[in-house]
Amino acid sequence: MTEPMGGTQTVRLTISWLVVGIPIVYGLYMTIKSVLPLFGG
């Protein structure tokens, strides 16, 4: 069996990276926010 190509593959890739990307962005945002006092922010 061949995996679906084109649009379906793109959707799957997008969802997969969003599942892990959104938590990473959340973690980075919260950490950068907590780091600001070090620079007087």
Partner: protein, 475 residues
């Protein structure tokens, strides 16, 4: 059958399956198990809830890290045989069950249940989960193994960045009296129990996403435009294969074990002491010019350097070569430690920059080592060899804090130390890095006598063929 999704038929990718689906599958596992670095968030709450010492609560994390090393070393060959899907599923079950049992332990005020749940059972999930995507990533990215493993192992660093703020927000939700913005506010035991229950469920769902997404490439697959001859042309990169059992009999394995041990020992020394260290470096007349909130922020900043180093340096090693990359980690690391000891107290920015680069090398050392193993021992059982090498991490987890705390205890009391009190400990770390530097320089290609015969190239495919042969024999 309910678990048919773990079958080998479902694990081998069909033609057209994008290899860029594998890094998010690996990240789904590593982002979850990386929570292990965020235990400090609820440490005080557990101390109060169980009315015990910080040491008694610290044991939970220690058991988990010891179990990580033990299970990665012991289960590595099994992980190679059953493939990433079954291994990730097992890791998800252990990791989540660990949280659920720990939640029960907190709710019923039974500390031993937390040791058993989070420490012992969760620790097994940590070890299996850590190594489960490694060899799969290397098979999908023979052209960029450093990039691929760097992405996954970056997730382990990133897991704490997510779990720390998320845990604070969830505990505030479960305990209205807890204020996450107030450093003195402590959450109730009930809030921690509910947090563990939530994390156990959420992590299981996210890890199952990884389970359903991960696949191994079909035998003989290679990425478009990939020329194995170019890989072979690089120094120290083999196209032969060495089994895990044989690898631990080679000097290369133990030299690399020493390299990882030294790199991690030096890095943990700073990570362990980060918050009081920055305050001590800028203490004059008993008062530090760095506020405790800024010191906490410094720990967060180091986490960012740790995470970034894993991805950036491991990816760069694909171009620099693995041995020169470790020459940089250990050689430049020595210079940075000397600068930290002698000039770190001159300005906060200098201190932060030096410590940040050192920690990026610490993270980079973790992320680059699977690709180094693949260069030396081939892809056959690289995940299992990686599992055995991680015992260096467990050993360094004991040695690093012992060295730094031992020297600092001899210098004075916490809260009264100054920059000069750190010099002996930091110069000792320079010596530790020098040992790792020499060990790295001594690494040569593995002797031919350790190589497997040509038919041993893929442990997973071999296990599949063996199972099919025994099944047809029974028919």
């Amino acid at each position: 059958m309910a678990l048919s999704f773990l079958d080998r038929d479902h694990t081998v990718a069909s033609p057209g399956y994008s290899r860029w689906l594998i890094p998010p599958a690996a990240l789904a596992i590593h982002l979850c198990i990386g929570q292990a670095y965020a235990t400090s968030v609820y440490k005080t709450a557990l101390v109060q809830h169980f009315d015990t010492s910080l040491t008694a609560i610290g044991i939970i994390f220690s058991i988990a890290i010891v179990m990580l090393g033990v299970s990665a070393a012991v289960m590595g060959t099994w992980v190679e045989r059953v493939g990433p899907r079954a291994a990730m599923f097992t890791a998800a079950c252990f990791w989540s069950t660990g949280f659920l049992i720990a939640s029960l332990g907190v709710a019923s005020s039974q500390l031993w249940l937390v040791y058993l749940g989070y420490g012992f059972i969760g620790g097994i999930g940590l070890g299996i989960g850590y190594i489960s995507p490694v060899s799969t990533l290397i098979k999908w990215f023979p052209d960029r193994p450093g990039l691929a493993t760097g992405m996954a192992i970056m997730g382990f660093g990133g897991g704490a960045l997510i779990a720390s703020p998320l845990s604070r927000q969830l505990m505030a939700l479960y305990d209205p009296n807890y204020d996450p913005t107030d450093a003195k506010s402590v959450a109730s035991g009930g809030a921690v129990a509910a947090l563990f229950l939530t994390l156990g469920i959420v992590y299981f769902i996210v890890m199952m996403f990884g389970v359903f997404t991960v696949k191994v490439p079909a035998p003989g697959w290679s990425p478009a435009g990939f020329d194995p001859a170019r890989v072979k042309a690089k120094p120290l990169v083999t196209t032969a294969n060495v089994s895990a059992a044989r690898a631990i009999k080679t000097p290369q394995f133990w030299l690399l074990w020493t390299v990882l041990f030294c790199n991690v020992t030096a890095g943990i020394g700073i990570l362990e002491q980060a918050s009081p260290m920055i305050q001590d470096f800028f203490r004059e007349g008993g008062e530090s010019s760095v506020a405790s909130t800024a010191a906490t922020a410094f720990v967060g900043l180091l986490s960012l350097f740790n995470m970034a180093g894993r991805f950036v340096w491991s990816s760069t090693s694909d171009f620099l070569g693995r041995k020169p990359t470790y020459v940089m980690y250990l050689g430049v690391g020595m210079i940075l430690y000397v600068l930290l000891a002698t000039a770190g107290h001159t300005a906060t920015a200098v201190f932060v920059l030096l410590a940040g680069i050192i920690i990026s090398f610490y993270g980079g050392g973790f992320a680059t080592v699977p690709a180094y193993l693949r260069d030396l021992f081939g892809t056959y059982q690289v995940g299992a060899i990686h599992g055995r090498l991680l015992t260096a991490w467990s050993a360094a987890g004991v040695a690093g804090p012992l060295i730094i705390n031992g020297f600092l205890d001899a210098q004075g009391k916490p809260g009264e130390l100054v920059a000069a009190d750190y010099r002996t400990a930091l110069f000792t770390m320079v010596g530790v890095l020098a040992i790792g530097f020499i060990a790295n320089l001594l690494i040569r290609p593995v002797a031919d006598r350790f190589h497997e015969s040509a038919e041993h190239t893929d442990a997973f495919a071999e296990a599949t063929a063996s199972d099919e042969a025994s099944a047809s024999g029974r028919r």
